[in-house]
């Protein structure tokens, strides 16, 4: 009872800090976006803008008002769901993000599931075989995994599995012929789920095949990091007194390793998972370009090249919210794993 109260208080406190983090972030992105473009109004109109047009648009966009006022207006609009209008497409930014998010979300989730599953399993095995050839192999592979750039790994996989072996598709989310033979009815925008909901098994197989290479490319970095972290914490945990106690009381070795030790090792690993998600998000931008994946990454790169600052601000804010939410989630899961956390 007391525990639950402490837990609730802790979660509430974490929620509050998250709100402040987000607020601080909007201040930073807003001011950077207002300082970086030399003349936002001119950018909005295009290369052939006349001075009187620029003046008109400056008024229209509220760019003549003092910066703090502009910020307040911006925040009011953000909270109302108006995240500005993309300069290049002239469509609402939030709409642009919403239409592309499912593709990125699907890729990111698949990659993270692969990364967490392989990372933890490989890390535990590596720790169990400490110093043996398997452990050395895993450690070498994980160093490669964290150091190889995602776009290069993506290209390499494409050459191997598409050009040489020809067993996996080159790029995209689905085969272009599928649009005519077995079109996917979009309900959630996440094709894997949509295909299952509408029992479109042909499409499901195709979506899965398209998912493999980009997901693996994106998973390489977080998987390596999680594996290294899991290995290190497993080794540390196994030298603890309470593990010796468990052995001294004749518990099964598998129970000691996979339940007693792993639960202790998972906490630091979970923190790493939260952090790698940020890397995975930026990583997904490169991966999306290499694999021609119609997600947020492509949109971001295009917006950056076009200096489409409302879009950039929108994406930044959106990414930040996602990041803060994930870390909040990690913290909440932590309190559930480790009863000591809500006390600190």
């Amino acid at each position: 009872m007391l525990m639950n109260l402490q837990k609730a208080e802790y979660i509430l406190r974490r929620l509050l800090t998250s709100v402040f983090v987000l607020l601080g972030l909007t201040v930073i992105t807003f001011f950077i976006a207002r300082v970086v473009p030399s003349n936002a109004a001119a950018l909005y109109i295009g290369p052939k803008a006349r001075p009187e047009d620029i003046e008109r648009v400056t008024k229209l966009l509220g760019l003549d008002k003092p910066l703090p006022v502009q910020y307040l207006v911006y925040m009011r609009d953000v909270l109302k769901g108006d995240w500005g209008t993309s300069i290049s497409s002239k469509r609402p930014v939030l709409q642009e993000i919403a239409s592309r998010f499912p593709a990125t979300f699907e890729l990111l989730c698949t990659a993270m599931i692969i990364a967490v599953a392989t990372g933890i399993v490989v890390g535990v095995i590596s720790a169990q075989w400490q110093g043996k050839w398997l452990d050395i192999l895993v450690r070498a592979a994980s160093i490669v995994g964290v150091s190889v750039p995602a776009f290069w790994l993506g290209l390499l996989l494409q050459i191997l599995f598409f050009r040489n072996l020809n067993i996996l598709p080159l790029s995209g989310r689905v085969d272009s012929d599928l649009r005519f033979t077995h079109p996917i009815m979009v309900t959630t925008g996440i094709y894997l789920i949509d295909a299952i909901i509408h029992q479109n098994w042909v499409a499901l197989k195709d979506v899965c095949l398209h998912m493999i290479l980009p997901a693996l490319t994106l998973a390489a970095y977080p998987a390596s990091l999680i594996a290294r972290m899991t290995r290190a914490t497993m080794l540390e945990v196994q030298s603890q007194d309470y593990i010796r106690t468990a052995r001294a009381y004749g518990l099964k070795e598998s129970f000691i390793v996979y339940i007693l030790a792993l639960k202790n090792a998972i906490s630091p690993t979970l923190t790493v998972i939260g952090l790698t998600l940020a890397y995975a998000l930026t990583g997904s931008f490169f991966v999306e370009i290499v694999f021609n994946w119609p997600g947020l990454g492509m949109f971001t790169v295009r917006s950056l090249l076009n200096l489409d600052y409302p879009a950039i601000m929108g994406i930044t804010l959106f990414g930040a919210i996602g990041y803060v939410l994930i870390n909040l989630l990690v913290d909440i899961v932590q309190t559930w794993i480790d009863p000591r956390i809500s006390l600190s």
Binding site: D241, R247, A248, Y249, L251, K252, L260, K263
Partner: protein, 326 residues
């Protein structure tokens, strides 16, 4: 005479370190009788803890048993399989460690940890194991056992945790309990309570106990017999009364004079000069000779052998052999 429940014979243990081999135990021999409290006494680094861990085959990876055997209820523990060993650990022999706050897993409740051990060894159902755990917790004098059963280690004080640890250590009808400095990490005020409790339960359940400690005062109050280890060797062994009344090794005498006596305020405690040698295997002659106040030329050349003063008191000192120590 009854058979001993545990017989350690000529046990040699080596540590392989980056700086070479260290001989941690060299020919330790002693018997523990059923139902008795047997003290293992010595300074830090004398091999007490290693002796305790070796009985459960829980030595660190770098340690090797190079010679000797450990017989528990007639079975050579060094020859049985891992599986058989596992059923003896926690099933027949249990152990209490020095620091209760680190020897319980912080992420599982006391109840979960006790329940698992009881089910493993007594093959009880979950519900029956819970009852057993609650009974044992209550037997250690803990109040509100249902709440403690559902508590995590960090929610209990050191004394309460050590009681829970004792409850765990006695929950499976063990016949031997190894207590490795069970009160060292606790508050002084709690130490005597815990020792009292251990003796009470030990007598009630009739379990034999090996009490490993550096504190001779604790041993004097608790133990029937004891062995004094120095640098991995037995220096004196026998009935505690006999040893306390008539210590027959200069090291034992040194340890005894290092116990603060009541009413001795203001007097400096005497200490044995010097330290335990790091690798006693490298020394020639008696291992205690470099620190001994009574050292003779012979001590530096020959290793003294066990000299029996009576049926149940022996010492490895040339002076004891000559009867010259007093």
């Amino acid at each position: 005479m009854r058979d001993p429940i545990l017989r350690i014979e000529d046990l040699h243990i080596e540590f392989r370190t980056s700086r070479g081999v260290i001989h941690a135990l060299q020919g330790v021999t002693f018997d523990v009788m059923p139902g008795e409290i047997f003290g293992v006494v010595g300074e830090t680094g004398c091999g007490k803890t290693i002796t305790g861990l070796s009985v459960l085959r829980l030595l660190p990876r770098s340690a090797r048993i190079t010679q000797g055997n450990i017989r528990f209820e007639g079975v050579d523990l060094l020859k049985i399989s891992q599986r058989e060993m596992r059923s003896i650990r926690g099933g027949k022999i249990s152990i209490i460690f020095q620091d209760p706050s680190t020897s319980m897993n912080p992420l599982f409740t006391i109840g979960f940890q006790m329940n698992k051990v009881i089910r493993e060894h007594l093959k009880f159902s979950r519900e029956k194991a819970r009852e057993r755990a609650l009974t044992m917790l209550a037997a250690t004098g803990l109040p509100d056992v249902e709440r403690i059963y559902d508590s995590y280690p960090h929610q209990l004080s050191g004394g309460m945790l050590q009681r829970a640890m004792i409850a765990l250590a006695l929950s499976c009808e063990h016949s031997l309990l190894i207590a490795d400095e069970p009160t060292t990490a606790l508050d002084v005020t709690i130490q005597s309570q815990i020792l009292q409790l251990m003796r009470e339960l030990q007598q009630k359940l009739g379990v034999a106990m090996i009490l490993i400690t550096h504190n001779l005062g604790v041993v004097a109050n608790m133990c029937d017999r004891l062995v004094v280890l120095y640098a991995g060797r037995v220096v004196e062994i026998g009935e505690s009364r006999s040893i306390f009344e008539n210590p027959q090794h200069p090291y034992t005498r040194g340890l005894m004079s290092a116990i603060p006596a009541p009413g001795s305020r203001g007097n400096r405690l005497s200490a044995i000069p010097g330290n335990v040698p790091i690798d006693p295997g490298a020394l020639k002659g008696c291992v205690f000779a470099p620190r001994c106040a009574f050292v003779m030329p012979r001590c530096l050349k020959e290793s003294p052998v066990m000299f029996h003063l009576s049926k149940d008191h022996a010492s490895t000192c040339f002076l004891a052999e000559r009867g010259d120590l007093f």
